[in-house]
Structure formats: C-alpha cells, structure tokens
Amino acid sequence: MLSLILILIAAAFFTGVIIRVKSIASGRKGPGIFQPIKDVVRLFKKGVVYSETTSFVFQIAPTIYFSSVVMAMLVVPFGQSKGIVGFNGDFIFFAYILALGKFFNIISAMDTGSSFEGMGASREALFSMFAEPAFFILMGSLALLTGHTSFQEIFAALHIGSYISYAIAILGTFVLMMIAMVENSRMPIDDPKTHLELTMVHEVMILDNSGFDLGLILTAGYLKFALYGALVVNLFIGVFPYQYSIPMFFIIQFVLASGVGFIESFMARFRMSHNAQFIFVLTSVSLLIFFGVLLILGKFV
C-alpha cells in the first residue's frame, strides 16, 4: 500500500522534473514541475477523435495499457512493506503484465493503417523484446543471491553489506534505469521531442490517439517511470526504517529524474540501427551481475 502511494506521488513530479532540468540546462526557465499532470487533466476532459480505419482494438488498447501499468505498480513493494499483491515469482508476472500492455499498444498502432505508426510499432516490438532478458537475468541473479523469488523478499534480504553486493546494486541500477529508458522511449533510444515522425518510436505510435485515451497513455508513461524508479530505490533501502527510507525514496527518484534530464540535454539519440546493439549491452551487464552473484556465493569452485 505504502509503495503504491509513494509511486503515485513520485509519478506526479518525475516527468515534470525531467522537463524542468532540460529547460534549465538549455537556459530557459521552463514550465512548473506539475505541468505534465495539468496537461493530462486537460486531456481527460476532452472528447475523442477516432480514425475511420480503426476498430474496437484501437478503443480498448489505451485502457488495457493503462491497467497493465497500474497492475504492475501493485506488485512493486517498498523495502519491508509488501506491495498490494506479492507472491513467489511476482517479477515474472510484472514483466508479462507489462508485455500485455505493450501488445495492445502495438496492435492499436497497427489498427490505424498509417505507415508511420506501423514503423513505430515495429521498432517498439523489437526494442522491448531485447530489454526483457536483461530484467529476467537481473531478477534471477538477485533471486539466487537472496534465495527468494518475490520482489518483497528479495529486496528485504538485499542488505548483505559486502562491497560486492553494493557494486551489484549499482550495476542493477544501471540496468533498471536503462530498461526504464527503453520502456518509456527516452533519450538514448528514442527522442520524445523530435520533430520528425520517421525518427520516433513511442510518440509515433500514439499519433492518432486523442482526448481521454491519450491522457491514459501519457499517465501510464509517467507511472512507468516512477515504477522503475521505485525498483531502483528498492535495491538500496533494504532494512532502513521508514523515517530514512521514505526521504531516500524521494531523493533517489529526484536524482534519477534529473539524471534523465541531463542525459537528454547533453546527448543525441543513437542511430536507430545501433539501438539493438545498445540493448544487447544491457543483457551483457546483467550477465555480469549474474557472475558477480556467483562470486559472492562462492559457486565458482
């Protein structure tokens, strides 16, 4: 329950912070950090426009995408306190329920019959597929390290205190953050602020969505960012009592958001054809974590 509330609060400012940091870095004052929320609220009040090519798939897809993110949010714990649903193997469920949202996102883009949206759909399907192995190896390694297979038990037990385990946590942060970038189509993978449809991934998929549906999709994006941020926080807080861990949660989320903002300000997007290789790197890093765990446990004999 606690994690749900914290993620919701973090989601409210996360994207705003990114935009604000980008504005400041480019010498502008920029909008307030709650501007994304205000945009979404405005969208929720609007009617919708559907393309005449589309079918019911296009109409249900945003709802399912949004629900899948909400469901994933319920699974994530906060340190010692459980998520609303938590069980052995919940991280498998976490990844697969997000995949359901992606599946619908992709087919809703195909539903419009637009070549641009098809392009985005094709890229999204390929990129997200490559991010998943990294996630499973990372969680598998942590499961091996702690001897548990649910988010909450893994994170609660992850305070072994040796330096290597913190090294692993840092590598894990890198992997999770990069997965978040891939999943949310942020900078090194995809440029959300590009002016050309040909170079977009996620943004081009939702070209035809409008009003309430677009609001759902955008909100889901904000939630997803905070969701992965929460997973990163969980790598560190372990057994800390709440008076430390809750402020830590917000600090880490804030640092992550400004990090994303800085990356976006000072980095160009990768060439589309290089993205796949970049994502392979993620898998390699997670394999590195796996070997680190093997070292700690002394399984190399």
């Binding site: 069980f87 469920f93 195909m110 094709s122 190896i137 091996l144």
Partner: protein, 675 residues
C-alpha cells in the same frame, strides 16, 4: 472390456458405412463416430485422473505375445486432449469442407482416414506392447498422410505429403530399432521389458536407448533438427486437419517421450539435460523462422516447433527433478510441460481454425495480400486475438500459466544448483524470455497485418464472416483458453495423478503435489483477477466520462499527407525488417530484385524468401550429394532392352554360381590372405 470392443466395433462399422452414404451423411456419421468414441474413451480417462487405472489383457498372437492395455493417468490426460481437439476439429471440418462437397470419392477417403486417425491416436495412448504399438503407429502415420493430402491435385500438397510420409517412416525406423533391441535381449515385447532391460544395463546403455526413442518420437513432435516436415505439412492440409495435426498429432511424440521416461530407468539428470538442450534450440529456432514467414499457416507451423520447445523445457526440468531426487522440481517441470501440452493444443488449433476462416473468406493465406479483415470478420478476428495473446504467453490467458509454472521450475532449481546447472538455467531462462518476446513480435505482425488497417488487395468475391455454427467450436476452445487463464487450479489438480506417475518411484515423495503447486499458482490467479477488475473499472470510468463527450470520426493522421492509399501501409515485410537485419546470420534469406530503369520505366520487383538453414544443411544438401552420386550409375538405365536382358542374365548366373563356387571362393580368399 466391453467398452473396448464397442470402441473397435464403432470404428469398424463407420468405416464400412461411410462409402455408401451421401456427402452430408458421411460428415454426420463421422462426427457421430468421433463423438461416441470420445465418450467411451473419456469414460476411462476421467476416472484415471481421480487415481484409478485400468488394465486389460488380450491373448494376442504367437508373435506379439499377450497384448496389455493400460489406461493410466498419463494416457488419460492425453486422451482428453485428443478427444477435445478432435470433437471441435471435426465439427469445424463439417463446415470447412462444404466447399469441396463435389469431390465425392475424395471425401470418402478423407473421412475414413480421419476416423482411423482418431482411433489410432487413442489406441497409442493405451497399448503396452511394442509390436502392436508399432503397427498402430504405422496406421496413424498413414492415415495422417491421407488426411493431409486431401487437395492432392496440387503439386505442393503431394510434395509436402511425401515429405511427411518419408520422415515419419524414418521415425518408425528408430522406434523399431529401440523396441527390437529390447525384445532381442529380454525376449518380450511388453513395455515392462524396457524397465527390466534398463535396470539390468545401467549407465550408457539406458541413455542410448532413451536417445534412440527420443529421436524417433522427436521427429513426430517436431524438435529441431527433426522438424523439417512440419512447415510443409501444416499449410498443405485443410484447416481442420492442420489444427488437429498441430494440436494433437505432434503431441503424440511428446506422449511417447513421456511414456518412455516412465519406463526407462537411466540417469534422469543426463536425460533432462539432453531434452533441455533440444528444447531450447527448438524454441528459439522455431520462433526465429516463424517471424520471417509470410504464409499464415506456415508461420503457425513454425510456432508449433517453438511451443514443442517450451513443452520440452518443462519435461527437461521434470527429468532433472527426478535425477536430483527433488520432488517439487519434478512436479513443477512435468506440470508445466503437461499443462503447456494442453494449452498449446487449445490455442494452436484455434489459430489454425481461424486461419481456415480467413482462407475460406479470401482464398489466400499470403499475409501481404490481406488486411482490414476485422471489419468484415469481427468474430474471427476476436478469436484470433485471444489465441495470439495466449500463445505469446501473456496473461490473463492460459499460455502465461504454463510458462509461469516452467519459470517457477527454473527459479526453484536455481536455489540449490551449482555453477554448471546455473549456467544451464540462466541460458534457458534467457531463451524462454526471448521466445516470449519474439512470439509477441510475430503475433503483433500476424494479427496487425491480417486483421487491422485497410485491405491490401481487392478481392473479386465478397469477403464475409463464416456462419455461426462454424464459429461455435472455436468459441468453445476460446472459452477454455480463458478459463485456464483465470482458474488454473482445476486443471492443476487434474494433473496430480499424471505427475504422481513420474514421481512415484522417487525415494522421498514428501510434500503432496497439489498443495504445493496450488501455493505457487493461487496468488497469480488472484493477481490476474485483480488485473481484470482494474481493467473493467478503468473501462467503466472511461465509458462514464465519455458519455456526453463529442466522438468524431476522421481519417487517419497521415502527417499532413492527405491522399494516402492502402499501399502506403506498413507491410509484414517492413514490420519485421529491423528484426531480419539483426538476425541475418541465423536466417537464410535470398533476395531477387529487378530495379526500375529507363525513361519509360517498366515494372520493377523485389522479392525476399527465407529458407530453413537446418533443412538445407541436414536434408537438402545430403540428398543432393546422394543424388549426384547415384547419377553416376545412370548409364546402366539406358532404356535399351538388350542391356536389361544382359543384367537379368548376369543376375541369374551369379545367383546360381555363387553357391556352387562358394568353397572355391573361400579357398581363394584364404589363399590371398596367406600371401
């Protein structure tokens, strides 16, 4: 006993009856026969799942020895799957075959082979005598061949059929070798002889025997590299046969492997690793090639290979559990494998049936020619979507449940594994994740291109939804897909007995299975329900919020281009192009290109085709080499009668002379040896 006689009498009566009926009558009698036989065998099968088992002994003949039939829980589970798919498939087939009504004799042959196929598949599940098993296996192979080549006036169909027939006989050779080897040593054709044989010959012999059986059954099941018949046979067959073939015929190979695991007493750990290795390769290779296919049925056929890989992973984990004496691991593995067998039978047959609907409506299966069918055939599209989500292993449908059990198996195994096993686990998990991701890519492509967007091709005939009765069996399958996804417990409880069969010979059979797996799955079920509730809630809110709002219909936003045609849409080829560029080393894609040239350009063209690399190196190249070797002896067959008479005379003379001069020849050879 009486039921078994009734079973055979029904089959025999129907087979003699069918040729004398009118086309409509043939269909109805066939369906009635399948239904009756299904009820008879289900009567036993359901009871086996509650813990009973039935044994019958027939006197047999002098050669075979007594023939035992045993219906245990494993047979029961497979009989139930076979019957369900056959009932829905034959009902669907009644309507699908309407277009072929004028082909009187052809339908007669088809119906008879169909009944034979059903009977032989069920018999294979219960027969315990290897000689009889081989005979029935042969009947099954030939009747499957006959139902596949229904459209035998097409060259491609005959070729696919021959390919299948030859490969299934290669499989029989392996099985024969295994069974006769056992019978030669022990002197008995009963399956129990396998147990006594492997119990006496510990070590490599048992493993080798298992490998022989594994190859034999793997050809039928479609494990890579024994899969090459599958992508030809499935598209060639009529839709209801493709569904049955992918749903149950290839599963009889899985059944064979499982059956042998119950009998062979060998090093289960090594067996498990072997199965796991084959499965990982099959899973990845199947889905990798599936993505490149642009024929809907061929795409589905490659997905069967992928899913056989997933089933195999479950079985592999199960064997490793047996080998390490870990009861929970064994039950997780076998539960995952057996449940995925059922799940795959459901969603794959549904996919093939919906592909049949598409073919019936448009007369083509070429993905690039289709598009926008969701408006013309909304029900078919919805059913395809359900099956597509299920096969990608995504909740809330059944594919996720079995994959979840297999994942749990892997992560559970991880807890007490050493470095070698850990590497196996991590790469198998990697493979399973990639399979899921690639399957999603493949099915978003298939669904998106076939059903969504605008039509890519003008058809000269009306494209319309098939009648409701034809959709009825499809809805039944879809119901079970959803049901297993939402209430998996019922099915896992049914799996208690089949799994107990494997694990019963372990030393410490400790924790009761049903409770433990129930523990694993109960919360997932809860989570799935919560998800469904959330989705419904948000859907309700959305509906409520949009109640008085303006809903406008406009053209698709073309990024300021206002005259788009359907040709501008993304095609299947372009959808998978980033993928095919990335995976080029693994794929064998050939391009033929004709560029547009000149001031008054003529038409240009661009074609790509993906071949199966394993097929090329394992089947095509050796056959080409063999052919060119045999080509050197072509001069012997020169068509001149005089020469043939000379061959005849040479043959006769040598047949007469060799025995006459046998002693001299031996003496001569001895003489040469002395020198």
């Amino acid at each position: 006993m009486n039921q078994i006689e009734a079973f055979l009498v029904i089959t025999a009566t129907v087979i003699f009856l069918i040729p004398f009926l009118k086309v409509k009558g043939k269909g109805l009698v066939l369906f009635a026969a399948i239904l009756m036989n299904a009820f008879l065998s289900d009567y036993f099968a359901v009871q086996t799942l509650t813990g009973q088992s039935f044994e019958f002994t027939f006197p047999g003949s002098l050669i075979t020895g007594p023939v035992n039939l045993r219906i245990d829980a494993l047979s029961g589970w497979f009989i139930l799957i076979i019957n369900f798919i056959f009932i829905t498939g034959s009902f669907y087939g009644l309507f699908y075959m309407k277009a072929y009504q004028s082909q009187h004799k052809n339908i007669t042959l088809h119906s008879i082979a169909f009944v034979f196929l059903h009977t032989s598949l069920i018999s294979l599940c219960v027969i315990q005598n290897s000689l009889v098993f081989l005979i029935v296996w042969e009947i099954m192979a030939i009747s499957a061949f006959l139902v596949v080549i229904f459209e035998h006036d097409k060259m491609a169909t005959i070729k696919a059929g021959m390919n299948y027939l030859i490969q299934s006989h290669v499989s029989i050779v392996f099985l024969m070798f295994g069974f006769i080897w056992v019978a030669f040593i022990t002197g008995s054709y009963d399956f129990n002889a396998i147990t006594s044989f492997t119990a006496q010959n510990k070590g490599a012999t048992g493993l080798f025997l298992f490998l022989v059986f594994f190859v034999g059954f793997a050809i039928k099941a479609g494990f890579v590299p024994f899969h090459t018949w599958l992508p030809y046979a499935h598209p060639a067959a009529p839709a209801h046969i493709s569904g049955i073939m992918s749903g149950v015929i290839i599963k009889i190979g899985i059944f064979g492997i499982l059956r042998m695991i119950t009998f062979i007493k060998a090093d289960y750990y090594s067996i498990g690793l072997v199965i796991l290795a084959f499965s990982v390769v099959s899973g990845l290779y199947g889905v990798m090639l599936a993505i490149m296919q642009h024929n809907l049925k061929k795409l589905l056929a490659y997905h069967s290979i992928e899913n056989i890989g997933i089933i195999g992973m479950g079985i592999g984990i199960g064997c490793i559990g047996l080998g390490t004496n870990n009861y929970l691991l064994a039950s997780l593995g076998f539960a995952g494998g057996l449940l995925h067998t059922l799940n795959h039978a459901l969603f794959k047959s549904l996919l093939f049936f919906t592909a049949g609907n598409v073919y019936q409506a448009t007369h083509t299966l070429h993905i690039e020619h289709l598009g926008g069918l969701i408006k013309k055939m909304p029900q078919t599209a919805l059913l395809f979507l359900v099956a597509a989500i299920a096969i990608s292993g995504i909740p809330p449908f059944n594919g996720f449940i079995s994959e979840f059990v297999i994942y749990s198996g892997f992560y559970y195994w991880m807890q007490d594994a050493m470095v070698g096993s850990l590497m196996t686990i991590i790469f198998s998990v990697l493979a399973l994740v990639l399979i899921g991701g690639l399957a999603m890519l493949c099915f978003t492509k298939a669904f998106g291109i076939v059903f969504l967007g605008n039509a890519r091709h003008e058809f000269n005939h009306e494209v319309k939804e098939v009648p409701f009765l034809q959709l009825l069996p499809l809805y039944m399958i879809a119901f079970f897909i959803v049901f297993i996804g939402v209430f998996p417990q019922a099915f896992l409880n049914a799996l208690y007995q089949p799994i107990h069969l494997f694990a019963s010979n372990m030393q410490n059979a400790g924790i009761p299975f049903s409770e433990k797996i129930g523990d694993v799955l109960q919360p997932v079920t809860w989570a799935i329900w919560v998800f469904i509730l959330i989705a419904l809630l948000i859907f309700g809110i959305r509906k409520f919020a949009l109640r008085h709002r303006k809903v406008a219909i406009e053209t698709t936003w073309g990024c300021a281009y206002i005259a788009p045609t359907e040709k501008l849409q993304y095609t299947a080829g372009s959808f998978v192009r980033p993928y095919s560029k990335l995976f080029r080393p693994f794929l064998l894609t050939t391009k033929t290109e004709k560029e547009v040239q000149g001031i008054f350009p003529s038409g240009g063209s661009y074609k790509t085709r993906t071949f199966d690399q394993i097929e090329k190196h394992l089947i095509d190249n050796p056959i080409a080499a063999y052919k060119s070797f045999l080509g050197r002896f072509l001069f012997l067959q020169n068509g001149k009668l005089q020469f043939y008479i000379i061959y005849g005379i040479i043959f006769i003379v040598s047949v007469i002379c060799i025995p006459l001069f046998y002693d001299q020849i031996v003496l001569f050879i001895d003489f040469i040896k002395k020198i």
